[in-house]
Amino acid sequence: MVAEVVRKKYTINTVCAINMIDIGIIGAGGMAENIHIPILKSIDDVRVGFVADIEKQKSERLGNMYSISSVVIDDISSLPRSDVLVLAIPVGVRQKYVEEAAHRETPIFCDKPFAADLETHDEFLNQATYIACNYQRQFYNNIRQMSDILTSGLFGPVRSAYFHEIHPGSTGINKDSYRMDKGLSGGGILIEKGCHSLSQIDAMFPESEITVSDVDIDFVEGFDTKVQATLRIDSSLHSFDLEFKLGKNRHDSTEAGFVFDDVKATFDPTNPSDPVTIEPADSSDGTTFDIKPANEHPIEYIPAMYRSWEVFLSELDCAVRSDLEVATSRTTTRLIDKMYSDAQVDA
């Protein structure tokens, strides 16, 4: 007779978690359909209580698909109660949901980006009981391993660095997408894609001061389409400039690189399975080494999302929680805010 029940689903490390967590999802879009609901259905002690949307057809469609309660959002205060509220909605419409969740003392898990600007970011932090942002790229194996290398000072101080994220080709954005409305999306490529990159930089330098200068942004019809800036990173171990580049120029490539005295470490920060490659700083003889991914870090997109959920759920009902500024990567919002601000001034 088996004494322990064989697990059919995966149990989050719920040292602090409450029993049977009931989750309500606001926004019946692609993230809810393809990511949040399937992941949550893979986790023990978690139940998707409802999915809500302002469009009846969307919420009903997901509700039917996953056999969960669907809600049409009319009066926010009449939304069903839940233990957690997921905001899978554009940044431009989050304010009232954060206020309602704060009123109910319900923890919030937001999709990225967290907020359209720093002022709103801080308002959310002040209001919410507990709130975190799903910056899942922070959990990518290459980011975690690079963070370990940087924190340990393994190769000595960083002398220079670059973080280039290039997305050539089609955006996949329809003309009626919320991303074509700055009021909903918060902006263009910088807030949409750049928030990921900056959250990864934030994750790699947790105890550092990061400032931005030399901002150069190209705008097309009010939307930022290309960004270049210099980030200054100062910590007890490192003090250097990081060249930040974001765009769609197919002649550039996506790569993050950190140059030390003798060694250079590079990887693709958008690809969770890309290993950290080590080579001589002067790249003289072509010798390279790939660091084997650590088993505990995700090397695929879905497990990174799963890990993001895992961390969030493990914080629920804890007496001591992670710093909200860290959980929501306030540094990311601050840097984006500054870049837009500097670019507008220059314009």
Binding site: V2, A3, E4, M65, P298, E300, I302
Partner: protein, 331 residues
């Protein structure tokens, strides 16, 4: 009290020698077959004797002055020399009984494997050479030295430098998540060195009547207790007792998902609208669960040792043992 440990260079022998020598009035002499075997004893600063106890002359010279002879030696049995090696091991027992003085206490290390089928259904008593060897060794002690002979059926010996401990901890160290393929409530039949030492002390000091005893932790530890003792703090441990564990579910989901995904696009093309929704749901969930299963397998260490499948025996039959937990804490 001069205590000879025949086979004192083994993992168990050295562990016992180091501990027994600390007792007042005990002097310990490991007895080994050859100079190469004496290496670790030299390093440990233990005095030793070199003698092949299966040789009568050498046995007489090495064993005659002992007050206690612990038979810890055993030659590994070769595939082609089973019978010869078995007799070699029994000769050690015979000569220990023959060439020690009449007053000498003999302690023979048998094994719980001597329980045969009671320990594991897979053990065929009649054909298992190890079972036969241990039972015959016990019989030699019983028939030759009924007044001074002890046969100790030892459980799975755990402790520093013990094989089972090294095998287990190799999996446990550095793992945040463990799947242990064992029944957590099952008695483990584990024996930690301090409890064995206490048992030997009772035998040496004649505090228990000569005979056959089963020596296990006191009280028996479940596999949960063993794993939790050795796992690092904060390790998430799950016990699974059949193959329908998460890793197997992951594999099945993955293979079905791949098969399913490969044809989904075509399937979707021809599926009536009312059936599309459940299909899409299945697609999303299988795709997601497949990747999560793969990740869980990567970051989870699975431990499956053959001793996990052994039946749990009753408690140790050595009377009045100190709880093993207490002895370990004292160490």
């Amino acid at each position: 009290m001069k205590i000879g440990i025949i086979g004192g260079n083994g993992n168990v022998g050295i562990a016992l020698a180091n501990r027994l020598k600390e007792f007042d009035g005990f002097s310990v002499v490991p007895i080994v077959r050859g100079p190469l075997s004496a290496g670790p004893l030299n390093e440990a600063g233990l005095p030793y004797r070199i003698a092949d106890v299966t040789d009568q002359n050498e046995a007489a010279e090495a064993l005659s002055d002992l007050d206690v002879a612990i038979i810890s030696a055993r030659k590994s049995v070769g595939l082609e020399t089973v019978k010869k090696d078995l007799e070699y091991n029994l000769d050690i027992v015979r000569n220990a009984c023959e060439y020690t003085s009449d007053r000498c206490t003999i302690i023979y290390f048998s094994s719980i494997s001597a329980y045969g089928k009671e320990l594991a259904d897979s053990i065929k008593n009649e054909f298992n050479s190890y079972v036969k060897e241990k039972r015959r060794g016990e019989k030699i002690i019983r028939e030759t030295l009924p007044e001074t002979g002890y046969a100790l059926r030892l459980g799975h010996v755990f402790g520093d430098n013990q094989s089972w401990t090294q095998t287990l901890t190799k999996h446990l160290v550095g793992s945040n998540r463990l799947i242990v393929r064992a029944d957590p409530q099952r008695k483990s039949n584990v024996l930690h060195i301090p409890t064995l030492v206490e048992t030997l002390q009772k035998c040496i000091e004649n505090k228990i009547t000569p005979g056959r005893f089963t020596v296990l932790n006191s009280p028996q530890w479940t596999w949960r207790e063993v794993i939790e003792y050795y796992a690092e703090t904060g390790t998430e441990i799950t016990f699974e007792t059949n193959d329908s564990g998460s890793s197997q579910i992951g594999s099945r989901i993955q293979s079905h998902a791949l098969e399913f995904l490969g044809s989904f696009q075509d399937l979707s093309l021809y599926t009536p609208r009312r059936l599309k929704s459940p299909l899409v749901q299945k697609y999303h969930i299988q795709e997601v669960q497949s990747q999560i299963a793969s990740y869980e397998r990567r970051r989870t260490t699975t431990v499956a040792l053959p001793i996990f499948d052994r039946n749990g025996l009753s408690e140790s039959t050595v009377p009045n043992l100190t709880p093993t937990q207490k002895l370990l804490k004292q160490e």
